[in-house]
């Protein structure tokens, strides 16, 4: 409900604040992904359409679409190993501040064909252009895409399926109707995910909209996770009791008479 209300509000803002003639209507197949005991990842579907009205230039009917999915933000550290005293140990490191724990960029064709490098940079299109704030010395900034730490960071996240870009994932079913899949691997973090959808025509940003979904633990998983965090003492006692019961029952079951 809240998510819908937000979408509606955003759409209103969009209509009131911009002079663009197109409007994006989008929805994800599931706004609330629940983590159950047999959860092992999921694939959501985002679908939507480009609404045109009288003000739309008649000759404009080829659209490009870029979808960005941003998972809950977290601070991370990337460390580099170096050989010291004959063994490989962590030496240098770089802090990444409030970067998305999941990041996916989808489009209907390669990013460089959709728009100019300048706009791509400004609109954060492509993994190389998404802002990843780092602490560099006393500064908080992003660095050049081919920086060793930044590229290692993106490479490692991509290997785990947590960062991805796929310039052919968005398909236009009709010139105005589109869909894309959002693959969520099993180890995606719990939290709120923002989805930004940007519409381009002839290399220029026409309009954009946002939606969101959340991944939540429910039932038993939720119970275990919150009690571990909030009632550490009781949680520890229960685990210890569990261990004792388990050991005791084994000695009963396997007792040699």
């Amino acid at each position: 409900m809240i998510a819908r209300a937000i979408i509606a509000a955003l759409l209103m803002l969009q209509l009131g604040g911009t002079a663009w003639a197109e409007r994006l209507i989008v929805s994800v197949s599931n706004h609330r992904v629940t983590v159950t005991p047999n959860y092992s990842g999921e694939e959501l579907v985002l679908f939507g359409s480009v609404e045109r009205d009288a003000a739309t230039p008649a000759n404009r009917n080829a659209y490009d679409l870029v979808v960005t999915v941003l998972g809950p933000r977290a601070d991370m550290v990337t460390r580099r190993k170096e050989r010291k005293f004959g063994i490989w140990i962590n030496t240098d490191y770089r802090q990444f501040l409030q970067v998305p724990s999941y990041l996916a960029l989808f489009a209907n064709r390669p990013f460089d064909q959709i728009t100019s490098p300048e706009i791509a940079r400004r609109q954060q299109i492509g993994l190389n252009n998404v802002l990843l704030t780092q602490r560099v010395g006393t500064d908080y900034a992003d660095v050049v895409p081919d920086d060793a730490f930044r590229s290692a960071f993106i490479r490692l996240r991509t290997q785990r399926g947590l960062y991805r870009e796929d310039p052919s994932a968005v398909t236009f079913l009709t010139p105005t109707l589109f869909r894309t899949g959002i693959p969520l691997p099993a180890e995606v973090p719990i939290g709120t995910y923002e989805v930004e959808i940007k519409l381009f025509a002839n290399g220029a940003l026409v309009t954009k909209t946002e939606t969101a979904f959340e991944i939540v633990k429910v039932g038993f998983e939720q119970f275990v996770a919150t009690s571990a965090r909030q009632n550490g003492f009781i949680y520890g006692l229960v685990t210890a009791a569990l261990a004792l019961t388990c050991g005791w029952s084994a000695s009963i079951v396997f007792r040699k008479d």
Partner: protein
Amino acid sequence: MQLYLPIADLPVNVFLVLAMGAAVGFVSGMFGIGGGFLMTPLLIFIGIAPAVAVASVASHIAASSFSGAISYWRRRAIDPALATVLLCGGVTGTALGVWTFTQLRALGQLDLMIALSYVVLLTTVGSLMFSEGLRAMMRTRRGAVPPRRTHNWIHGLPLKMRFKRSKIYLSVIPVVVVGIIIGFIGAVMGIGGGFILVPVMIYLLRVPTSTVIGTSMILTLVTMLFATMLHAMTNHLVDAVLALILMVGGVTGAQFGARAGQKIRGEQLRLLLGLLILAVGLRFAVELVIRPEDLFTIREIGVTG
């Protein structure tokens, strides 16, 4: 069958973890050790964060040592007085260990510390145990009598106390120190420490073999219960679901292991255990020395939102 672990935030195959628990349990029952030094690396290998693995294995070791301790208690193979003195040190050591664990985690050198201590500890203990087992086997083959046990400097220390069940008269200082060391490394490395404690008690403290395994199991049991509590309270990293699967597999395996162990002669058992420990230690050493496939690693320092 996949099962989602609520603290490790990762789905695992239940049967794989059960089998791992059973295999390690078999080894632990056979040699009378906790088996943490095998379990923790195995968990890390299947993708569980080292910190979660160390914290969760503690409760698994508690379960298997409790089931072992019960059967040793029935056979009157536990020295309560010696266990109490050891525990005084063990609890202190565990608290120090969990504190160190938290500090190292903040520094980002926890993985290195765990790996380094594995290498040093396992290769040393493994090769000592292996060579001792080898010598013992040669002796029996030659039919020679084992050298008579002599008192060493440890027996000259003050604060002596009589341990009736073990029939020894010993200063409490080395016993408490051993307890502290075992508790400390147990909490930091996620191992019970039984494989170090047993040889130390036999060769250094001269505790008779009849009470040594049972008594060391009491120390392992209490320090691991204590470590579970402390890890749960300070780091919130104990995964109860993971621990439960490991426990069920572990205690079952341990019972079969104990039966298998009775069929093998003592020195052969030590030789085998020495080899096993050495192999695990060398594996860690190789990993430190060869160039890693990826020089970079990422670690999250807390999710917000």
